[in-house]
């Protein structure tokens, strides 16, 4: 029986809370997050609602819950898309080697030159701002990230003796990839999914902060921060609350990833 790393426990609890809050927000929030109440605008935490209200009198706590859905949804869809594509490319490159590998890795290098903010600006010029733009922009960047990781992990597996044995036994490259390579690198991929989802949340927040993210009135943490800039001195809680939410979410996912790595990779312990 292995001991569960402490980072895994903390990360797991934070992430679970986040996921539950996000899902719950689709059915229930203390107040409707888009309900405007000018009478109760810019109220401090505790005075009106658990975390106060914004410049339209909307309930911060409810907005954070609804924002969790957007953040997690965007980040996770992007990681799922980019991660899947990147993993397929990486595993294939490791399997085929040669010219195919050289060319794909070059293309992947090119994608790596476009940080999500840049591709989001380019995409926003075509598609306009919105969830699609953010998801595609983050996913595009995730492709090179996952391709590089899975390729080098897969190459290490290919170098092992039992792969030689499998080759001798007459297995095709595709069979070996499916039976040996992918199962052996899957734990590394899962660790990366956790960590990159954290980075995805960070990026999504940045993009909505710039106004490139999901359109209002759907609340998002990044835009809550952007809106807060005007009301610094009147209502500083509007700056603190969404920022802490972002920070906790990313921290939780990072800890979860670290913990999973400690659990699955005995060498790093």
């Amino acid at each position: 029986m292995k001991r569960i790393p402490i980072s895994l426990m903390i990360g797991g609890v934070i992430t679970a809370t986040l996921v539950i809050a996000a899902i719950l927000s689709q059915f229930w929030t203390p107040v409707d997050p888009s309900q405007i109440n000018i009478m109760h605008r810019l109220k401090a935490p505790g005075v009106e609602g658990l975390l106060g209200t914004d410049h339209f009198g909307r309930d911060s706590f409810s907005m954070i819950m609804a924002g969790a859905w957007v953040s997690l949804g965007v980040a996770f869809s992007a990681i799922a898309l980019g991660g899947l594509a990147g993993t397929i490319i990486g595993v294939t490159a490791a399997c085929k080697r040669g010219r195919f590998e050289a060319i794909t890795m070059r293309i992947v290098d090119v994608l790596f030159a476009f940080p999500p903010v840049l591709s989001a600006i380019l995409l926003a010029a075509i598609l306009g701002a919105g969830a699609t733009t953010t998801i595609v922009a983050i996913a595009l960047f995730m492709i090179p990230v996952f391709t590089r990781i899975t390729r080098s992990a897969a190459l290490q597996i290919w170098a092992r003796d039992y792969i030689q044995a499998a080759c001798m036994a007459g297995k095709t490259n595709i069979q070996i990839t499916l039976e040996h390579v992918i199962p052996n690198i899957s734990s590394q991929i899962i660790v990366q999914v956790a960590i990159q989802t954290g980075l995805g949340i960070l990026t999504e927040a940045g993009l909505s902060f710039l106004g490139l993210g999901i359109a209002p009135p759907t609340p998002s943490w990044g835009r809550m921060l952007a809106d807060s800039q005007t009301y610094f001195s009147l209502a500083p809680h509007l700056v603190y609350v969404p920022g802490i939410a972002i920070c906790l979410a990313v921290l939780g996912l990072n800890l979860l990833g670290d913990g999973l790595r400690d659990l699955t990779d005995p060498k790093r312990k």
């Binding site: 070059r106 030159a113 476009f114 840049l118 075509i126 940045g206 710039l210 921060l225 001195s233 990072n254």
Partner: protein, 318 residues
């Protein structure tokens, strides 16, 4: 000497191919943008024949490949075309904005290295000691902090309460060096903290790993003091992963600069891109995006070259 030159020549040709590829993709994407530049410049009420005249003046009526090649040759001679909305050339706009963005990112990199190297090295000296616990808490939390939020906190916590640094805006280098530097201070701290967090982690891990290598024991057996070994044997080898990380973080830094410039209202490249998008000034977007992509690619190329200097083992392997 040629053992260094050869891999560099090889990656140089790779670099050119990558750059061509990137420029082509950006051009292709901008082609897909809906809307007519001529109409954006002249406004909705323009006469059809003036629109047509402007289109041919901008070269919009020529075939796609011809326009792409025209842009490329323009790039080589430094002529990026004219902005639709600002009445200057794009090249001049970029140069002006770089006066903010370059020092901003440079300061941020400098700060992050100044924080992370000593912290990571001190932390590695006593694993699980006080400094180490602080360093790992710092890196764990720092990585999770959005830099634009740090910027907001710095404005509330420092700029508004002490007044030592301005909460935003940029006086321009011509209007005094110190005021300009002060205006960049808080933004670069905001940019530096998450970077420093990542680098602290890498530095600590690298120093611990190298310290356990056999050659460090050899050096100690020569009679070198722990301090000497750190500077002459451990750090030169530990810098290899640190430099890699710095190179990989460049895209994060650029993204961060766009956000932080926005928070502090700095007239830099990021704000330029952002405003150009709002004003549908596509030629500016096209060139600014290319510029950033080229910077990312070029820095990665430099890191590769630096590798060859730091790690002599690589000179043969390639």
């Amino acid at each position: 000497m040629h053992c260094i030159a050869k891999p560099i020549a090889k990656s140089l040709s790779g670099l050119i191919i990558t750059l061509l590829f990137v420029s082509f993709i950006i051009f292709l994407v901008m082609e897909a943008v809906p809307g007519d530049p001529a109409e954006i410049i002249l406004g909705m009420s323009a006469q059809p024949d003036t629109l047509a005249a402007l289109r041919s003046q901008l070269g919009l009526d020529r075939p796609f490949i011809e326009r792409y090649l025209h842009w490329l040759t323009g790039l080589l001679s430094g002529d990026l075309g004219n902005s639709y909305t600002y009445s200057t050339s794009v090249a001049q706009l970029i140069v002006e904005r770089l006066h903010v963005t370059l020092p901003l990112t440079g300061l941020a990199v400098m700060l992050s290295v100044l924080i992370s190297l000593p912290l990571g090295v001190t932390a590695s000296a006593k694993p699980n000691g006080i400094v180490d616990s602080f360093a790992s808490a710092f890196s764990q939390i720092g990585i999770a902090l959005p830099n634009f939020w740090i910027g907001l906190l710095l404005i509330i916590g420092i700029a508004l309460t002490t007044g030592w640094f301005p909460a935003g805006g940029f006086p321009g280098w011509d209007n005094g060096f110190w005021p300009s530097l002060k205006a960049l201070m808080l933004p670069s701290i905001a940019l530096a903290i998450p970077q420093a967090a990542v680098l602290t982690r890498v530095t600590r891990a690298a120093v611990i790993e190298i310290t356990n290598e056999d050659f460090v024991r050899t050096a100690r057996a020569k009679g070198a003091t722990p301090n000497y070994v750190l500077w002459h044997h451990v750090l030169p080898n530990a810098l290899i992963p640190v430099v890699t990380m710095l190179g990989m973080q460049i895209s994060v830094l650029i993204a961060g600069a766009i956000l932080v410039e926005n928070v502090f209202n700095l007239p830099g490249m990021g704000t330029l891109a952002y405003q150009a998008l709002a004003q549908r000034d596509f030629i500016v977007i096209q060139n600014v995006v290319l510029f950033f992509a080229v910077v990312v690619i070029f820095i990665n190329f430099l890191v590769d070259a630096l590798y060859n200097i730091l790690d002599p083992r690589l000179r043969i392997r390639r």
